[in-house]
Symmetry: D2
Subunit: 423 residues, 4 copies
Amino acid sequence: MQVETTTIATTSPKLVDCYRAVRNFSLKLCETLSPEDCTIQSMPDASPTRWHLAHTTWFFETFLLRERGDYRRYSEDFEVLFNSYYNTVGEQFPRPHRGLLSRPSLGEVLAYRDYVDEQMVRLLNDRVEEVDSIVTLGLQHEQQHQELMLTDIKHMLGRNPLEPVYRDGNWHSAQARGSEWLEFDEGLYEIGHSSQPRAEAFAFDNESPVHRHFLPPFRLASQLVTCGDFMRFIDDGGYQKPELWLSEGWNTANNDGWQAPLYWRQSQGQWSHFTLGGQRPVDMNRPVCHVSYFEADAYARWAGLRLPTEFEWEVAALDESKRATNQATFADSLIASDDVVHPIGSDALMGDVWQWTASQYTAYPGYVAPAGALGEYNGKFMCNQFVLRGGSCATHSTHARATYRNFFAPAARWQFSGIRLAK
Amino acid sequence: MQVETTTIATTSPKLVDCYRAVRNFSLKLCETLSPEDCTIQSMPDASPTRWHLAHTTWFFETFLLRERGDYRRYSEDFEVLFNSYYNTVGEQFPRPHRGLLSRPSLGEVLAYRDYVDEQMVRLLNDRVEEVDSIVTLGLQHEQQHQELMLTDIKHMLGRNPLEPVYRDGNWHSAQARGSEWLEFDEGLYEIGHSSQPRAEAFAFDNESPVHRHFLPPFRLASQLVTCGDFMRFIDDGGYQKPELWLSEGWNTANNDGWQAPLYWRQSQGQWSHFTLGGQRPVDMNRPVCHVSYFEADAYARWAGLRLPTEFEWEVAALDESKRATNQATFADSLIASDDVVHPIGSDALMGDVWQWTASQYTAYPGYVAPAGALGEYNGKFMCNQFVLRGGSCATHSTHARATYRNFFAPAARWQFSGIRLAK
Amino acid sequence: MQVETTTIATTSPKLVDCYRAVRNFSLKLCETLSPEDCTIQSMPDASPTRWHLAHTTWFFETFLLRERGDYRRYSEDFEVLFNSYYNTVGEQFPRPHRGLLSRPSLGEVLAYRDYVDEQMVRLLNDRVEEVDSIVTLGLQHEQQHQELMLTDIKHMLGRNPLEPVYRDGNWHSAQARGSEWLEFDEGLYEIGHSSQPRAEAFAFDNESPVHRHFLPPFRLASQLVTCGDFMRFIDDGGYQKPELWLSEGWNTANNDGWQAPLYWRQSQGQWSHFTLGGQRPVDMNRPVCHVSYFEADAYARWAGLRLPTEFEWEVAALDESKRATNQATFADSLIASDDVVHPIGSDALMGDVWQWTASQYTAYPGYVAPAGALGEYNGKFMCNQFVLRGGSCATHSTHARATYRNFFAPAARWQFSGIRLAK
Amino acid sequence: MQVETTTIATTSPKLVDCYRAVRNFSLKLCETLSPEDCTIQSMPDASPTRWHLAHTTWFFETFLLRERGDYRRYSEDFEVLFNSYYNTVGEQFPRPHRGLLSRPSLGEVLAYRDYVDEQMVRLLNDRVEEVDSIVTLGLQHEQQHQELMLTDIKHMLGRNPLEPVYRDGNWHSAQARGSEWLEFDEGLYEIGHSSQPRAEAFAFDNESPVHRHFLPPFRLASQLVTCGDFMRFIDDGGYQKPELWLSEGWNTANNDGWQAPLYWRQSQGQWSHFTLGGQRPVDMNRPVCHVSYFEADAYARWAGLRLPTEFEWEVAALDESKRATNQATFADSLIASDDVVHPIGSDALMGDVWQWTASQYTAYPGYVAPAGALGEYNGKFMCNQFVLRGGSCATHSTHARATYRNFFAPAARWQFSGIRLAK
């Protein structure tokens, strides 16, 4: 506890810099996008880039600036337009209709960002300590949306037969040959994030409380499943064998005609896939990505293995991070970072692709959602979702940690989601 | 026949000017629109403005330029992307997905237009007479899309709670007080457009062949039904009385919650409606607009009257035009026009709003669709559509004529469609 | 007028016999059906047999018995349960949910029929002349439902992989080889049914008023299109050529995977179809049946011909019936009939299959729906339907006439609908 | 292990009696049903009674009789028709279409049962020990379908405005006034069913392997939530407060218009509900039933408490059963039972209503689905379902046990599902 207080005290001077760094990074992600690119919603689960830019701004305005008496809102209309799902705040413009709005224009959304940023910087310079935790939450929130901007843009561009390039380059690192088994003993392990910081000062509410969980002995693969591995599953008729699949997965795969991961396409015997760098041949040494939980689960069954639980994953990741040095704080890392999204090295558990776990997303024992609107952030989604652990090529390096619980519906494929096996 | 040839001969020198005038007018319609505005498809029946701009260009490229050996296409991809529904030409990008395309950008679509325009002007200057009829068809086609650009933009802006203004001003003229009954005798009337021009040189294939149709005596209202008239229908519970409605209309009205014309909204006892000039109070003296066939039909039944057939309407309109002077040709009118869409005076049958007729859209006796892709223009839609006659505030003044047959599904409300009564 | 009065006067003594004959015939149609058969609704457009038996009874109860002060309803609940679509009468149990009702049981529905029949016979024996026209309407109504019982039972049994037999025997007559062209002159023809009976005493409201219609010269095929004819269309790729189809037809055929008429199945190179007599090889000499308007229209276009208008068909049929002798009244025929549904000889225009016409179903000039609930019988469906003429193997022989207008949506295939060509 | 063998050995003589008892009980449940009642499928999740009767028979035929060389199948068609979801066995008639089949009739299904029963009794009398475990599985399977027959019949009758009565009587026992808190210590508990029988000889595969689970201290309510308790939630606006609901629950409740548990109806200020005994006033002292997981979860949040995990529930139930005496085997109980479905006393954890737990349905550590078709029984549904514990008024008293894991989707309301609170 004492440590944390100290941490905040010493990092507080830098919070305004963190704020600037994160906010700038959102704009940096849009550098290659046109107003048209920023307008389209390619499916109800995705949002237009313009909306992400506005909603993350709305978050600071709603949960920080509006709480202060002297603040004058940029626009009354934006309260509803850019509310994502906070019923406690009020009505929301319907999510599936976000793509119907051509106004406010990209230009006006940027002006809205400037307006709020100016007020926020003033607020942060005023050194009001009690806002620090919400500012940090807002920055973590914006980092989550930065990843969504990339997944949503990829989905939208991927629908376009012109196969546009977002940004050239390799988005995934090659896996080392020969996965090994990392071994762990049975035991009553501590799971979750406490106010006693382990490696980071910040965590979402759904990572707590810390609690004990009993695990039998288990093993985790040192490497991710690669495209080459997954090709063998395809070639062996994995998509045609119902006995490998969960019932709901089998129905989904058949109804939607799945024959390979999302974005994969076979043409004249060659597999290529749509990437943020355009249409590319599938590289068999890189981790398979854009698979649903259903595919990850079927693959594991086909391989005679299984997916890890989120608890196994966390135990392994904490073990790894204990061995690591240089545990920088969020603020330190962020400022130090070169402002590009970059994959964490492939010898670590974290990075490259989010890893589906066998764990359905549920509350930790003793969890109670925070009071007020921010209580809607995580708790109300604890149903029909599976936990993913790790982080991906689209996750900012300062946004990953061993206790982080990402979650998506088991049919979701447009996230950067892959597979790590256990037994 | 002879006359027509002559007409074309004398107007031919001006065809290139017509081309320029029509093409420019499309751009003029976009002057107040942003790239974001031009990107969105607000429902499957509507298309993004950018798509309209490209598709009308594709029409000239496909049916004129590509027929000429030396032409080099602007882009191979555009053949599929901007094909609307011509199966004979080839595959089409699915209509409901037109709003998924952020590329080609507005800028590139404009470049595409420039490229094709340059080739077209060269072709027209070369005075190749046999292309004249297809050029004219292409220009009429573009004029149809100019109206659709306005109806689709209105629909898209109308979904936006910010109520954006497209262009200020009154879009409908006030009706004279006191409608009168225009009387017509029974008789065997000639219907349709022949190669013997009546008032214009051009007509679509669905307006021919000329044929005889027997009509009992009938009367047509001199004025359109006004918003005030329609308010009395609403106030009398017209939307709650199934006995006034066609069965399918009643189901549609209930499923979609119709309580007034599209874009109407009641707030604190006052009715306003969304217009291209923004949200405005309903002016009771102007013609009611944005009603479906179902509403037009229910209104007529409520009034103890009926809708005219398309044959009655045409007989009356030809009678009117015979009395009119100054029958300018398409080319003359177009060049003379001040390049703004303007309503035709409300004392004429034509103008202000398209008028639903009681006639389902069907082939005239002896009609055979033209061979080839252009045969798909009109004929294949002769099913489950009703004919509208007249023209609207969004119809270019050079695009209306007595024999013109517009058609839409009976539930359609986003066109500028209104009501003229008969008995 | 005088003639009609006379007719009714002389047939009145027999109306109670007609009543008994028609009502019995409905039961006869159920002889081979189990309670389970009578319960199922295989699609929203179809109804359970039990519902047909009850609804036709409801019709007499509602429009005749309930009008008489002393009548005590069989069940209050049935007023809503067995109201098909009469908003003027009151609420209706939702049509798509008719298959959710296991009660009242078949036994109770039969008891309901007995109860109403007893009252009806008493009423008819009381010789209250003013009810005669509604009784006749009720009997014609029940005859329509007798055909629907057969089409709906066929559809339901056709979904069952056990391929149950309803009743053995041939349901269609073979066509004579070599169709000829029946020729008709141009002229201003009288169309529709007047109170001056032509061949029959009864007609529905939508067959009037009589009015004049101008027709250019035309020809009608003496024979129906056969399965063999239609096979050539299939073999020539008719279902794969968009240029033959209406746009909506092409979409429907593709979305629903049409490759042949409804109930046809190809297995090991042989075509068979499900019939009321079970699964049978397709007989190439019998008329093609269970085609939609879309298929009929595409077939005609493929053959270089067209479908007749309903006016052409009526002119030809009246011409034929003028040549025929023995114009029995409805009552005479009904009593004389041997109580089986039997096809009219294939040398007549009428019989075997309903024939799609090119005419969309619309009001005759001057038509006004009758006041009150019975006005909902026909008028409110004048939209998005095509007229069929003739009658089918499932139409009682006393139910067909030259002016009869049947109508269905253009995608409907479960009726006994076929094709006669014109040019 | 030794114990189990012994158990089976001594009960084996009675297995044929168990078989007869369970099979007869299915028929007993149909005594008040008509063939029409047994035909209808009121929603895709429900099945017609006739289908349940046939499918449970198919189970014995497929997994026991067909394995024996000399068996001659009753019907080749039934293999597909009555296969529920066993892909390993082969194709299945589509589940949502089970209500389209009027054949085989109820009579023929009963004949099918007789045919299979005769063969089964012969097989059981032959004393082939290795089939015992599959016979027992088949009987447990039939007991599950007996409960489904009741829930599905209730759902079907509940759609009927005639409000038919299945069988009179009280289906739920009154709760004692004043719930108490049962307290449990923290600890590493053993969860699941082993081959070392605790209270019963049989368990499903998903109840094993036995494993250790750490639990913090917890308390469980001694009584179920009553209708009166739940009324206070309704009266307090529970259905209108999004902050009480999971996000998906809130959407479901709004889309489907939930305002009270399924089958509840308010009329003139009084609440009644549809029961298997017809429409009845809601008895405020009886347990609330027909709530979804979403409603159970929202209720618990409103009450400031929570739902128990399935592990907590099992620990408590085992504790209870340890205190109980008279641990009869399945066979003993079954034969002794008076063949009626009867609620277990309300002072026990088990009985009256299934109790939603906070646990999503997932595999126990080390669980591997059995090889072959029977491996599809439970494992492939481990996704997007929540575990229910206990048993209900529709569960046969011999079918409940402390380790039993029932599971349904969180939106399901047609099961007899209620609420027990924890903290």
